[in-house]
Symmetry: C2
């Protein structure tokens, strides 16, 4: 029969999990997920620092390239109208880079929504689990109260009615004892009562953080989109000030892109370590947080044939006690009702209570079975380790593409800008008349550079 189709680590998880990790002294660190160990934290920080290194290298490259371009330009012979060689290539590469950046933005939007989907799947699984756990507590409480009420009213009435025949009173007392035993057994089933960890709270915290993460990415993506579009506009309109502003903005977005890449890389690596073997970590963490026994937690987190139901004993005892109460009540009905007609009402009422209790008991068996909670656990893992990780990798691709595109744009923009006609005579003449000689010369110059 086996467990229902659950979570299996994806190829991405395996791939990321196999990357080597090192601490600050570059000693290798085992790739098991251990977020509280200093070495492991250092390994993740080192992954994030790689992005900082990338940022530094790309800034140095851009600076060297631009300095070389500014200082080592061959002196232009006065009066020469030909644009510097390679000007067309520069403008085209700038436009191509910005288009690559735009494609990256599309990928980023997709990745952001995928990550958000995965995290909302995680929260919804946590909400489901919370619903199941609180339903167990509620059902146990309700059933125990119903049984207590039956003991206090109907069984007491019955004993008073039957007090003339001791053997019937003894049977009623036995039923009372069994009922109290059932209530006692059931009370032990509300295992989540008084546990300080609330899945609802965790789900709310996760949603809260995710909301801001999502918003931050949307703002970053929109900022980059605006920078790309305005840069293209600046190139098309040959507006120097727009290109200068957009060069500065590109530098800002480049820094943000590398920063987000560092965060994404560290998160993806950490998540892959978690996702390659989540059971042990989640089991230990939950045990620490809740103080529940490990057999209960293993039952829910593993839910396979090897782990037996820790409530089996209690359930079987309750079930037998309920069956005994039923046969005792039937015996009483046979023996007592002909002689004491007033015993019929409490007996019928007790049988009704017994039926309700048996219904609740079956519901409780269903709720306590590991299938439901384990399915939520599987859904949470799938959300986190499939959708969210996949989205994170798309975001990483976005950051990479946008870093590459922006670096290329930053190299090309000042050179494209140098190809623009000088702004002093640009302002003197009629801008809108494409047929004034200067304008047409300018167009020829710029167009030929493309």
């Amino acid at each position: 029969m086996g467990a229902p189709p659950g979570y299996r680590p994806s190829a991405w998880v395996h791939l990321l999990h196999q990357l080597p990790r090192a601490d600050f002294q570059l000693r290798p660190v085992p790739s098991g997920f251990a977020p509280r160990e200093q070495e492991y934290q250092q390994a993740l920080l080192l992954v994030a620092a790689l992005a900082g290194l990338g940022l530094g290298l790309s800034l140095i490259f851009i600076a060297v390239y631009l300095i070389r371009f500014c200082c080592c330009r061959p002196p232009e012979p006065p009066g020469a109208k030909s644009p510097p060689p390679g000007g067309g290539c520069v403008t085209w590469s700038c436009i191509a880079a910005l288009l690559v950046g735009c494609a990256g933005i599309g990928i980023g939007f997709y990745g952001n929504s995928e990550t958000s989907d995965g995290v909302s799947q995680l929260s919804s699984a946590l909400l489901h689990a919370n619903h199941t756990l609180s339903a167990i507590d509620h059902l146990v409480l309700e059933t125990v109260e119903t049984l207590g009420e039956a003991v206090r009213t109907e069984l007491t009435t019955l004993e008073e009615v039957l007090e003339q025949r001791t053997e019937l009173v003894a049977a009623a007392r036995a039923a009372r004892r069994q009922t109290e035993a059932v209530a006692q057994q059931l009370r032990g089933l509300a295992f989540w009562q008084g546990v300080p960890l609330s899945p609802l709270q965790v789900a709310e915290d996760v949603s809260f953080v995710e909301e801001y993460r999502w918003l931050a990415y949307v703002l970053l993506l929109l900022l980059e989109l605006l920078v790309c579009l305005f840069t293209l506009l600046g190139l098309a309109k040959q507006s120097k000030w727009l290109v200068i502003v957009m060069t500065v903005m590109s530098l800002l977005v480049l820094i943000l892109s590398w920063g987000s890449m560092g965060l994404e890389a560290a998160t993806a690596v950490g998540l892959s370590d978690f996702c390659s073997n989540p059971d042990t970590y989640v089991l230990n963490l939950t045990q620490e947080e809740t103080g529940l026994s490990s057999d209960i937690l293993s039952y829910y987190f593993l839910c396979n044939q090897a782990v037996s139901n820790p409530f089996q004993q209690r359930l079987t005892l309750s079930q037998r006690a309920l069956a005994n109460i039923h046969s005792q009540l039937q015996g009483l009905e046979r023996e007592a009702v002909p002689q004491f007609p007033s015993a019929q009402k409490p007996l019928l009422s007790l049988e009704e209570t017994l039926n309700v209790t048996e219904g609740n008991f079956h519901q409780l068996v269903a709720l306590l079975h590991c299938r439901g909670l384990h399915k939520d656990y599987g859904a949470a893992l799938r959300g986190l380790c499939e959708d969210a990780l996949e989205g994170l990798l798309f975001l990483l691709l976005f950051s990479l593409l946008s870093a590459a595109a922006l670096a290329t744009a930053l190299c090309s923009l000042p050179r494209a800008w140098a190809l623009f006609p000088p702004s002093d005579d640009y302002d003197d003449t009629d801008d809108d008349d494409p047929f004034n000689p200067q304008e047409s010369k300018r167009f020829v110059q710029w167009q030929s550079s493309i």
Copy 2:
């Protein structure tokens, strides 16, 4: 306690469900989902036909516009170099339209992946349900076999061992009767046995269709992307033959876009009718297909406090019988073992079987409870009515945007093309020299038109 958070129709479902529907005679049709009724089919076909009407209107508009442009052009004075007025507007509107088309393609990719997600959620819910149903059958079969084996071997041995004391034999016979009664009751719980409908088969069929739908959309999106990019290239390079080929391709993609829009609109309207009240339709359909009683199906499809568990009676009887067997076996152990030590082995083996049966019984109670299957039903509905419908609406938006963009491009392309320099003198001179007088004149002319 309430049901776990289930499916609720979204605002989109309500909105689409409230649109008026009419058959071919334009008589209003009720918007309940009834795919087998001719009137309802006509209403959906009419929705799809609206897209055909849109295609016809846009083709007529494009034809009228182009004929007017070709025939009613004011005669150009010979030797006049000024481009026709509005040329710049034409080229820009063409580029803007193609960019809108590209944005639409991005939306289309998102919608396609969203729809695919929703449908795969539906299949995975069906697979889960199939797993639960086959687990119930398997568990019942296994338990009934175990009980039958116990009756054939251990209980027979016990009766043979105890045959000297008739009251003990009677107790063993009672245990045998109870065991057979439990097996009989359990056999009735395998409600899906012999049912001709397999959720696995449905899931496979759905995945198969979805695979081809997904592929068809990806191909359409890529085709449109290529058309947009090559048209932009043709405009940038002023290549007449590329623009002509792309005009023809645009016409083809325009027809495909309107066609897909018709399919999407009809599917979205039908889906909204289904999703606004799925329970009744699914219940009736499943009852027809499976022949199961309506109380079982209502229990699983509704799963609320108003519908009682149809297996309650059988479960309670089995439970009581199991408890009775247990007390009979304990009685036999007390009475018989001191006198007949050879009875101990079959008794212990019987108790072991009883424990296993009680474990299986609890598992069966959990599997039969409506929570698990109803959760799968809710997940399937959410996949279909939330993700898939949302994706479909995005695809509809893509079709709308691309139809508008392509119609604008089709109106503008021939006019932009008319602004290109005539190809005869284009071929005569040196293409690559931007400084030959003709070339610079051409650039001035085209640039000024932008």
